[in-house]
Symmetry: C2
Subunit: 277 residues, 2 copies
C-alpha cells in the first residue's frame, strides 16, 4: 500500500539513503526524491537505487506528501524556517535528528506540519555507501510531536515507521533529550575522552576491550559537536552523574574496598546484562 | 615439533581452555594436563578436547616441562608460593594474568623459573565453553620477565607463543601495568561507571553505541575487581588522566566552544582511526 505519492528526503547519507532503500523496498511511495548538497552523493544514491530522482535544490520537495529531513541537527535547524515557502501544510514534515528540543521549538515557530522522529538505528559510519534497506527492521523509533500536533498526524507517522519494521514510542522533546543524553550522547563524550587521554604509543597494545569501548569515537566529529551543543543542558547533567559514578568506583579502588568494589561491579554488570549484547 | 613433553595448565577457562586447544592443534606437547577446582570444568575441557587428562589437585603438575597459570590474578598470587614444592627449576612456569607487578614480585620470591605472559586475546565471556583454538593467531602477547630471568628462558617462552600464532613484545612489569591501566583497565572502569549512572528505565532506549561502549561491563566482576586492586597505583593515575580529558571536553561543551570542541573530537577520532576497528 502506497502511504504517499511523493516522498522527498533532504540528506542522502547513511540514514537518508537507508530510508530511501527501505521506502522503495516496501513500496511506500510512487516516487522518492533525494535532495543533497553534493552531486556526488546524489549520484551515488541514484546508483544504489535509494532514490528515483536527485536534486541539489530543496525546491524539489514541492508537492511531496512526506518530507524527511535526514541531515545533521544543525542543518535541520537551518532548513526548517526555509521550508514553509516550499511545502504546504498538507505535507507531513519529519526529521531524524539526534536531539529534539531545539528542532521541535523551531518547527513550532515555522508553521509546518511537523513530527520529530529519532530512529535508534545509526552507526559510526556515514554516507550512502553504508545505507541498507533493513536497518529499521526491529529497531525503535522515538516520535516527538510539538504540543499542537494532531493525533492523526502522529498516528500517520507511526504507521510509516511501522511499515519500515520499526516499533515507535511517543515522548516529549524534553524527555527524549534527557534519555538520549544518557544512553547515547554521554557514551560518545566518554569514548572521545578515553581516546584523548591515551598516549599514542600505547595504542598498539589496544585489544578488543578498548576497541569496543571507543568504537563510537569513530563517529563524525562535526555531527557530534552539534548533537552535544544542541543538547548541552541535559548532556552536562549526564556528565555530572557519570562523574559521580566514576568518583565512587575510584574511591573504592583507592581505599582497597574489595567487597564494596565487587558489589559495584556486579550491579553494573547485571544492568548491562539486561540490554541485548 | 614438540616443544614440551608434558604441559600442565592450571585453570581451564576461556584462556586456559583455548591454550589447551591451540597446543594440541599445533602438537606442541605429548600430553596436556588440565588442573581446575571444579570437576564440571575439567569434564567440559576433556569433552572439548582441550586437555588429555584432568585433575583437581595441583600436584598433577609434577613433571611438567611447562606449567601455565591461567587463573584470575588473585589465584595466581595464591598459587605461586605453593608451586616450588611441586615443580623443579627445570619446569618453565608462565602465567596469563592481566596485571604483572605483584605476580612478578611473588615469582621472584618463589624461586620458580618464571616468565610472566599476557596474551591480549581475551573477551568478556568466560569458561571453557567459549574456548577456541585460534584466539592467539595474529594476537600480541606481552612477555614480562623477572630481573634475574635467563635470556634463553625468555626466548623459549617467545618461541612457544610464536608457535601459537602470536607476536610477542618484551617489557618490564612496571611498563606493562602502566600501559594496560590505560588500554584495558581504565576502559573497564569507564564501562562499569557508565552503566552505574544510567537509570534502569532508560536502558530500553540503548542503541548500538551504548552497547559497544559498555560491552566489557559484562566481564566477570570478581576477576576485574582483582585486576583493579592489583594495579591500583597505575589505574588511579589513568583515572586521573581520564578525568582531566573529560573535564576538558565538558568545559568546551559548557562554554559552547564550537570550534575547539570540533578540534578535540577530531583529534580523538583520528587517534581511534589509528587502531584497527
Amino acid at each position: 500500500m502506497k502511504l504517499f505519492k511523493k516522498i522527498a528526503i533532504i540528506g542522502v547519507g547513511l540514514i537518508g539513503g537507508s530510508l530511501g532503500l527501505a521506502i522503495k523496498k516496501k513500496q511506500l511511495a510512487d516516487t522518492v526524491i533525494g535532495i543533497g548538497h553534493r552531486q556526488a552523493s546524489i549520484d551515488q544514491a541514484l546508483r544504489r537505487g535509494a532514490i528515483d530522482q536527485g536534486c541539489l535544490d530543496i525546491e524539489a520537495a514541492q508537492g511531496a506528501g512526506l518530507l524527511i529531513l535526514a541531515t545533521p541537527v544543525d542543518k535541520i535547524l537551518g532548513l526548517i524556517p526555509r521550508l514553509f515557502k516550499i511545502v504546504s501544510s498538507e505535507c507531513m514534515v519529519i526529521d531524524v535528528g539526534s536531539t529534539k528540543s531545539e528542532i521541535v521549538k523551531a518547527a513550532e515557530k515555522s508553521g509546518l506540519t511537523f513530527i520529530g522522529c529519532h530512529p535508534l538505528a545509526g552507526m559510526e559510519k556515514r554516507g550512502v555507501a553504508y545505507a541498507k534497506d533493513d536497518i529499521f527492521e526491529n529497531s525503535l523509533c522515538l516520535v516527538v510531536a510539538p504540543m499542537k500536533a494532531k493525533r492523526t498526524d502522529i498516528e500517520r507517522v507511526r504507521e510509516f515507521w511501522k511499515k519500515l519494521g520499526a516499533k515507535t514510542e511517543v515522548m516529549d522533546a524534553c524527555m527524549h533529550d534527557r534519555i538520549l543524553s544518557f544512553v547515547s550522547h554521554l557514551p560518545h563524550v566518554v569514548a572521545y575522552s578515553l581516546m584523548d587521554c591515551i598516549k599514542p604509543s600505547y595504542l598498539k597494545f589496544a585489544a578488543s576491550g578498548l576497541k569496543d569501548t571507543t568504537r563510537i569515537g569513530l563517529s563524525d566529529p562535526l555531527l557530534w559537536r552539534d548533537i552535544f551543543l544542541t543538547n548541552r543542558k541535559e548532556l552536562l547533567t549526564s556528565i555530572k552523574d557519570f562523574k559521580a559514578s566514576l568518583n565512587r568506583v575510584e574511591l573504592l579502588i583507592r581505599n582497597n574496598q574489595s567487597k564494596a568494589l565487587a558489589a559495584y561491579l556486579s550491579k553494573s554488570r547485571n544492568k548491562r546484562n539486561a540490554i541485548a549484547h
